[in-house]
């Protein structure tokens, strides 16, 4: 019944083409070390983008996720540094830091969602506001500089980013789990169905006895939680946070969602598409770094072209459906 057309498969075809292109340009591309590197770097944006898929599918938007990540990283580092003298260099300290990041993400997402649903402010405006607030708070907390994790804790925490099962590191595993659960939720859960219904026509959803505000709020909370999770895995990478942490993550996440075939106006969500979109974006970056065909400085330009192209293809798809 489900017709597989080129438009639905477009992102996957593009991804395969990129892999082939990468392998042709540089044999090192397919080396496990490089693949691990690409996937691990995709993981942060990837987890956030999965959450973003739900927000966008319900007809919302969240511009604050990059700043939120920086702010949560800063707060988690400060919390760990603060309890370290009492608890020592110990996993308990790190667990407290993780808890702060996750709960902070939950609270930040709830704040965005509550402003959208209870105060009835446009998501664009709300998250433009909180984007500035989070960014400014982390800069203030770091006093314009960098918040660094105590070196003992940093050594202890490091394996959470660099370790894993064989060459598959924890961020990759977590991203995969998040993606699978996200895809399942969108496709098979009541929540996913409600999210799509609200994005498709909010009034119809309300007239179908769906608690529209609660579902919308939950999408922002879910996204906040996933930002917290990304932070949990990001902090051990550098062990620090500053005002420039996570800059433009929001746009990369939104771009990945759009490339993956989720409509920006909401109604149809494709989590697997988002995952493919994230991989496409990081592969372009990686290939440009490995091959000296084009300057890596043009990365943004190429990504921009891909985003516009993806939307054009989407439109042709709906035009084809009209007939």
């Amino acid at each position: 019944m489900r017709r597989l057309n080129l438009h639905t498969l477009g992102p996957i075809v593009a991804l395969i083409a990129l892999v082939i292109l990468g392998a042709m340009l540089n044999p090192a591309f397919l080396a496990p070390a490089n693949i691990t590197n690409v996937l691990a770097r995709s993981a942060f944006i990837g987890m956030i983008a999965v959450g973003m898929t739900f927000v966008i599918t319900s007809g919302g938007l969240d511009l604050s996720v990059g700043s939120m990540a920086a702010f949560l990283a800063g707060v988690a580092i400060m919390a760990m540094n603060a309890v370290a003298p009492a608890l020592g260099v110990h996993w308990g300290t790190i667990l407290i830091g993780m808890g702060v990041a996750l709960l902070g993400g939950l609270a930040a997402g709830w704040l965005n969602g509550a402003l959208v649903t209870k105060a009835r402010i446009e998501p664009f405006i709300v998250t433009l506001g909180t984007m500035g607030i989070f960014r400014s708070l982390v800069t203030w907390l770091a006093d314009g500089g960098t918040l660094s994790l105590q070196s003992g804790l940093r050594t202890l925490y490091r394996p959470v980013y660099y370790g894993g099962i064989g060459w598959i590191t924890w961020p990759i595993i977590t991203f995969a789990v998040v993606a699978i659960i996200g895809e399942w939720m969108m496709r098979h859960s009541r929540f996913g169905r409600h999210v799509e219904a609200i994005g498709s026509n909010e009034r119809v959803a309300r007239y179908s006895a769906i608690d529209v505000n609660r579902v919308k709020l939950m999408t922002y909370v879910l996204l906040g939680l996933l930002v917290g999770l990304a932070v949990v895995l990001y902090v051990p990478r550098l062990g620090s946070a500053s005002g420039s942490t996570g800059v433009l993550w929001e746009l990369e996440a939104i771009a990945a969602v759009i490339i993956g075939g989720t409509a920006l106006k909401g109604g149809t969500g494709r989590v697997w598409g988002t995952v493919v979109g994230v991989l496409i974006l990081s592969l372009i970056d990686n290939i440009l770094n490995l091959a000296d065909l084009v300057s890596p400085y043009l990365n943004g330009a190429i990504q921009g072209v891909i985003i516009v192209l993806a939307v054009v293809l989407q439109r042709e798809k709906s035009a084809a459906d009209e007939r």
Partner: protein, 500 residues
């Protein structure tokens, strides 16, 4: 020119139209003459909208000819047809919601040069609206207008186009009694001025009243053409359906004495003021009244879609309904009048639409797609939903099938009390009859039904008892032999029977 009565201004000669392999019009002949109202009637899917689109320049015929002033002609586009004086008023409004009434009326032909002449446009719009006896402010934004007011703006816009041919697609469907009167007056005026009017409508009474000539379409063919007075309402209905329409309305039932729903002093702030009534088990209760009399607001207040206060008892139990979920929980359901904007997700397949309001019945954690498919099979059979493909989008169904799908969706949680707002708006005679039979069947199963309708014959034909609303209050109740159009209109308009 005005004496040349035999000359058609716009005509179709032996026109057929195919979409892919499917031919939807077969050799249609149709002529529009100046100073004549030509009614085009037929069931949904009979080909009316295709004919309108060909006449309006939006589609080309596959074979046959379009004649403009007797000469074969081809419109490249809708705007080109409009330039030739052929103006279409679509059922779906073509108005820019964020612009003012005046800006819409003059859209594309703004007065003034580089700087717009706002005063001239405002004055021109006011004059047109004045002709229509419509008190709409030319500076109001379209988004702030009610649906009937938007229709009036659409008509004013067409009038401003100095049309020679006016094609109207169910213009009266959303108008109130008074506005319909103003519309007829305008049609008479345009007819006297020599405009040729093609009038599509499902309301056979108005066709009999307005039309000088009637063309009946069935399955893409012209099955009957008649002049004024040659075809009465039942004759039209018979020609449309192709069989005798006996027992158009199902026989009435025997409502139980036990009350299913008791409403005491229900108030929806600003809309409905202290309404009380009782609905019995197995009863079909009609609610009539003019558009704007608070019927929909009453229903929406009752089911928690609008803030309201008052006492509600379901099966004798006092019930508080704050949200629609509370209403669902006590078996009270509401079928909206706005099927495209509040009823169905037009961009989603049938299955998602059917189960949307009852998803918790299809699995606790994981939605059971197979159970959903089975439910869709049952619903298509029970409500006779005709869909060429089961994975098609709801928006692709015809209006009648959309309405059946919506009915199936509302019935899926198995409600005991169902409020149906405008059960047959914009759907064809055959489907109407089916829906009437469904409603009566639901009542005979012991469910209780409230039917809100603007169509007098429908309220009377369907209901066991009718409440008439006026200005947010119940103006009166009629039942049995007193259920006549005249009595209902009197109550709705606030005319006492002594005064009349």
């Amino acid at each position: 020119m005005d004496s040349g009565r035999t000359m058609t201004v716009l005509a179709l000669r032996n026109v057929s139209k195919s979409f892919g392999p499917i031919e939807v019009l077969h050799g249609v002949d149709l002529g529009l003459e100046p100073g004549e109202v030509h009614a085009l009637i037929g069931e949904n899917g009979a080909g009316k909208s295709t004919i309108m689109k060909i006449l309006g320049g939006f589609l080309d015929p596959t074979s046959g000819e379009l004649l403009l002033d007797g000469q074969p002609h081809r419109f490249a586009s809708g705007p080109q047809a409009e330039a030739a004086g052929v103006v279409v008023i679509h059922q779906e409004f073509n108005l820019a919601a964020d612009l003012s009434v005046a800006a819409n009326v003059f859209l594309g032909r703004e007065a003034g040069g580089f700087r717009l002449d706002h005063r001239a446009m405002r004055a021109g719009t006011a004059a047109l609206l004045d002709q229509l006896h419509s008190p709409i402010d030319p500076d109001a934004l379209i988004r702030d207008l009610s649906v009937p007011d938007r229709q009036m703006v659409e008509i004013a816009k067409a009038l401003s186009r100095k049309a020679r041919v006016l094609i109207m697609d169910e213009p009266s469907a959303v108008l109130t009694h008074r506005e319909v009167g103003a519309l007829y007056e305008q049609i008479d005026r345009l007819r006297a001025q020599g405009v040729a009017i093609l009038y599509c409508s499902h309301r056979l009474d108005e066709v009999a009243h307005l039309a000088d000539r009637i063309t009946v379409l069935r399955d893409g063919r012209v099955v009957r053409q008649a002049l004024r007075g040659e075809l009465d309402e039942s004759g039209m209905a018979t020609a449309m359906v192709g069989r005798e329409l006996q027992d158009f309305y199902p026989p009435k039932g025997q409502p139980d004495a036990a009350p299913a729903l008791e409403v005491q002093d229900l108030t929806v702030p600003g809309e409905v003021h202290g309404v009380s009534f009782t609905l019995r088990k197995g009863e079909v209760l009609g609610i009539a009244g003019l558009v704007g009399s608070g019927r929909t607001e009453l229903a929406e207040g009752l089911v928690g879609l609008r803030p309201s206060h008052g006492e509600i008892r379901v099966n004798g139990q006092p019930t508080r309904v704050r949200e629609l979920r509370d209403a669902f929980a006590v078996g009270l359901a509401y079928l909206t009048e706005d099927r495209k904007e509040a009823g169905l997700l037009l961009e989603k397949p049938l299955r998602e639409n059917l189960t949307l309001a009852a998803l918790e019945r299809f699995g606790r954690v994981r939605i059971d797609n197979r159970a959903e498919d089975a439910a869709l099979d049952r619903a298509t059979a029970e409500f006779d939903i005709r869909a060429p493909r089961r994975d098609m989008l709801a928006g692709r169904l015809s209006g009648g099938n959309q309405q059946k799908l919506l009915l199936a969706k509302v019935m899926l949680p198995d409600p005991r009390i169902i409020i149906i707002d405008e059960p047959t708006r914009g759907i064809d005679v055959g489907t109407k009859r089916q829906i009437y039979a469904f409603i009566r069947k639901l009542a005979s199963e012991g469910r209780s039904i409230i039917v809100i309708s603007s169509e007098m014959t429908e309220v009377i034909g369907l209901s066991d008892r009718v409440l008439v609303m006026r200005e947010g209050r119940i103006a009166g109740e009629v039942a049995g032999a007193a259920m006549t159009e005249e009595n209902i209109v009197r109550l709705a308009m606030g005319v006492s029977s002594e005064a009349a």
